[in-house]
Structures are given as structure tokens and as C-alpha cells.
């Protein structure tokens, strides 16, 4: 664990479990509550960014481990969702960099986005292609824009990217979509 290398792992867990280390037990409990409240939403977000449920689950574990470490170090987390979203975005980008030279087809796409009364395969395929050629940061921005309907300013505060970077990447995404016949409203 970060910052507590002089303890072995097992005694830490026992102390927390038997209440001899109430702060540690509190952190564990808070992570459990946060997971029950936000786990599903963060998992779905990671699926969209990484395009694979298995990889999303791997990264989700890292996200909650970082929250646990943060809380055990005495950090505060009043609003869990922005903390988790930023953490998930950062870790998804890092995870993707690990596999930089391995381009894999997408297994998961934002299903909510593609649920519609008609059968507009042209549009769905265009968005799918843009997801496929985009990196994790672009996918995160595209998901926030299309699925969560956030504005650039909200995406910036939610994902922890600068507004300038969002605008630059958004322009690139819009160009890619427009080339494939999908036109987004300006926000």
C-alpha cells in the first residue's frame, strides 16, 4: 500500500475488521457504500471508453483501489462521482497506453446511445467507426457528450480535462462524425 509500507497486509485487514483501527474500517465501509451507489455507472462509462467489459472491470478495480488508498491516507471525498469519473478517465487513458500497439475491435458500444425506434445503421455504424478510431480521451469526451449530454464546460469539470483540450478534441470528433454523415448540435 502507498505510504504504509511498514505494515503487512494481513494485520491491516484484521485490525479493520475487529474495529481496532476504526479509521481504516470507516474507509473500507465508505468504499463499499460508494461502490453500491456508483459502481454500475462508472462501469458503464468505462465500457464505453475502453470498448470491452473485461478491461472495464480491471480498470474499475484500480479506480476503487485508488479511492480506498485516498481514504486510508485520511483524504476526504464528499462528492464521490466526480472523483470516480476523473480517476476512471485517468486510469482508462493509462490502461489504453499500455496496449498502444494492440488495436482490437470494439466489443461494447454505448447501447443506450444506439437504442432508437428506427434502424439507422448508417448513423450507428458512423458513430461506431468514430469510436473505433478514437483514443480513450476522445471516447471519454464523446461518451460524455452523446450519452450524458454534457456541455464542454461540464465535461471539463467532470473528466478533469482542460476546456481548451476539450474544445480541440471536440472539433476533431465533430469533423470525424461529419465526414461520416453525423451532425451534432453545437453546445
Amino acid at each position: 500500500m502507498d505510504g504504509d509500507g511498514h505494515h503487512s497486509r494481513e494485520p491491516e485487514r484484521s485490525e479493520a475488521a475487529f474495529g481496532r483501527n476504526p479509521e481504516r474500517a470507516d474507509a473500507d465501509r465508505q468504499v463499499e457504500v460508494t461502490y453500491r451507489r456508483h459502481g454500475a455507472a462508472i462501469f458503464r462509462y468505462l465500457c464505453h471508453v475502453l470498448g470491452s467489459q473485461d478491461e472495464a472491470w480491471d480498470v474499475l478495480q484500480e479506480v476503487f483501489l485508488s479511492l480506498l488508498r485516498h481514504l486510508r491516507r485520511g483524504g476526504k471525498c464528499e462528492h464521490a462521482r466526480p472523483f470516480l469519473m476523473k480517476s476512471a478517465t485517468r486510469m482508462a487513458v493509462r490502461h489504453e497506453r499500455r496496449w498502444l500497439f494492440r488495436r482490437r475491435p470494439l466489443q461494447c458500444l454505448p447501447a443506450g446511445l444506439f437504442s432508437c425506434p428506427g434502424f439507422p445503421v448508417d448513423l450507428v455504424e458512423a458513430v461506431r467507426q468514430v469510436y473505433e478510431v478514437s483514443d480513450a480521451k476522445d471516447r471519454a469526451i464523446l461518451t460524455a457528450r452523446l450519452c450524458e449530454e454534457l456541455t464542454n464546460a461540464e465535461i471539463s469539470s467532470c473528466l478533469g480535462f482542460s476546456l481548451t483540450m476539450i474544445q480541440r478534441r471536440m472539433r476533431r470528433i465533430i469533423n470525424r462524425l461529419e465526414k461520416r454523415g453525423v451532425f451534432l448540435e453545437k453546445k
Partner: protein
């Protein structure tokens, strides 16, 4: 977009992220009460709320907290091990890196290069309101709607035919044309028209035949029927009929129905 999103009024209805915040008690007090009151009054938001609740229930059933704890434990142990190994093996790692770099420079790969003229057939599936690319092991159901995408390097015509287990041959070419239709070369180009599957539970093999001259459906039909009956004599099924005998480039997919 999601049907619920299409139906809801963006002027008055909260966004999905606001509903999620209310559901996870991220927002409290008057703001949360306002969202809850709206959800009670608005059937579209109510449905979306219930979807979010059921999605959360399903997620927690599939990934309980105990599983996350196990994963976090494993990650912690892994990072400890990695740190120890790195400290001990930095010199060996540097040597290995030099060897790998040398090998990579000596044998450069070319990922993502497509063979000129290669052909492919893939399917999009619409089930309920959900649209997605069909998986390799997809099982199709009656009333599913499918639409085909073709990739072709330089061929000008396409004929799409299928044969089911009982030997019936269908013409899936756009417009049910009796001859191949012209296509534009390109990657994963959607064909016009979608097909709604009937109640038949027999597997179906679909062939996309690419050519530079139009092919006749009636001639290909005889060829397909002959190929299947020959296979059946050897106790095989449409699953095994992966290729037709002919000079044209072709791609095939199996519509599994059970």
C-alpha cells in the same frame, strides 16, 4: 439516441446524469426532491429511473462487492510483487529491452494493413430498440431485424443469397434483384434495406458473391442447392457449407437460430 431520451422534453426533464446523481444520493435536499417529484409525474423519466435502478441491481448481482475486494487485494499484491521484481531485475530488464528493441527494428510489422481486394460480410442486428453489430456466436430470434454491411476492394457487383437447413434458397440482394447489384468499393458499407427474420428456427448460411460482371440469381440458386445436397449426402449441414465453388471472391456468415 435512447428512445426515452427522444421522448423526454429537454426543457423540463432532467438529464440522465442528473437522475443518476439523484439515484445515488449525490445530490440532496430540495434539488433531489424536485427530481423525485418530476420522476413520479413523468412516465418517460420514471421508465428511465427504473432502467437505471435495474441496471444497478444487475451490475451488483454480477459483480458483488466481495468480488471487487478480491480484485483490489490481487492488485495490491501484484503491485508489491512488481516493485520487488523491478528493483532486483533492472539490469536484466535493460538488457532485455535492448534485445527486444533490436528485434523490433530488424522485423518491423505492419498492423492495420488490409489486403487489396479483400472482401467481407458483416451484420447489424436490431432487437427491440437496441441496435448493435452481431457477434460471431450470435443467436438470432424471430422478428429480429438485420442489415448487411459489405467490404470490397475493387469489385463492382454484389449478389447476396442464403440457404437454410431444408435447402430453401433466398435472395437477400437489395431490391430482391434477379441479378447482382452495383456496389461502391469500401470498408463496411451498409447495404440499403433491412430484413426482418421470420419464425423459422433453421440455421441459414448467407453468401455475398462479389464480381465485376453481374451474376444471375437463378444460376447461383441451382449451384447453392447442388452444393447443399452434396454436403447432406455426407451427413453435413449448412454450418459446413462455408464456400461455394466458383471463380468469384465471396464471404459468408451463418445465421444461427438455436
Amino acid at each position: 439516441m435512447n428512445q426515452d431520451f427522444l421522448e423526454r422534453d429537454p426543457g423540463t426533464c432532467p438529464r440522465r446524469i442528473d437522475l443518476e446523481d439523484a439515484l445515488s444520493e449525490e445530490v440532496e435536499g430540495e434539488q433531489r426532491m424536485r427530481i423525485l417529484r418530476h420522476v413520479e409525474a413523468c412516465p418517460t423519466c420514471n421508465r428511465l429511473w427504473q432502467n437505471l435502478e435495474s441496471e444497478r441491481r444487475e451490475f451488483l448481482a454480477r459483480h458483488p462487492f466481495a468480488k471487487l475486494e478480491e480484485g483490489m487485494e490481487r492488485l495490491t499484491q501484484k503491485s508489491e510483487r512488481r516493485r520487488m521484481v523491478l528493483l532486483r531485475l533492472i539490469p536484466a530488464g535493460a538488457a532485455a529491452f535492448a534485445i527486444i528493441l533490436g528485434a523490433w527494428l530488424a522485423f518491423p510489422g505492419s498492423p492495420g494493413v488490409r489486403t487489396k481486394g479483400s472482401v467481407a460480410l458483416s451484420i447489424y442486428l436490431m432487437r427491440g430498440n437496441d441496435i448493435r453489430p452481431a457477434q460471431a456466436d450470435e443467436v438470432f430470434a424471430p422478428r429480429d431485424r438485420i442489415q448487411f454491411l459489405v467490404s470490397s476492394g475493387n469489385h463492382r457487383y454484389l449478389l447476396l443469397v442464403s440457404v437454410d437447413e431444408s435447402g430453401r434458397v433466398f435472395n437477400y440482394t437489395p431490391g430482391t434483384a434477379s441479378f447482382s447489384v452495383p456496389i461502391t468499393p469500401g470498408e463496411r458499407r451498409p447495404l440499403p434495406e433491412s430484413v426482418e427474420l421470420d419464425e423459422s428456427r433453421e440455421d441459414e448460411r448467407i453468401f455475398a458473391l462479389f464480381s465485376n460482371e453481374p451474376l444471375s440469381f437463378s444460376e447461383i440458386k441451382i449451384l447453392v442447392e447442388g452444393a447443399l445436397s452434396e454436403l447432406k449426402q455426407h451427413g453435413k449441414t449448412v454450418k459446413d457449407l462455408e464456400k461455394l465453388s466458383g471463380p468469384w471472391p465471396q464471404a459468408s456468415v451463418l445465421l444461427r437460430k438455436h
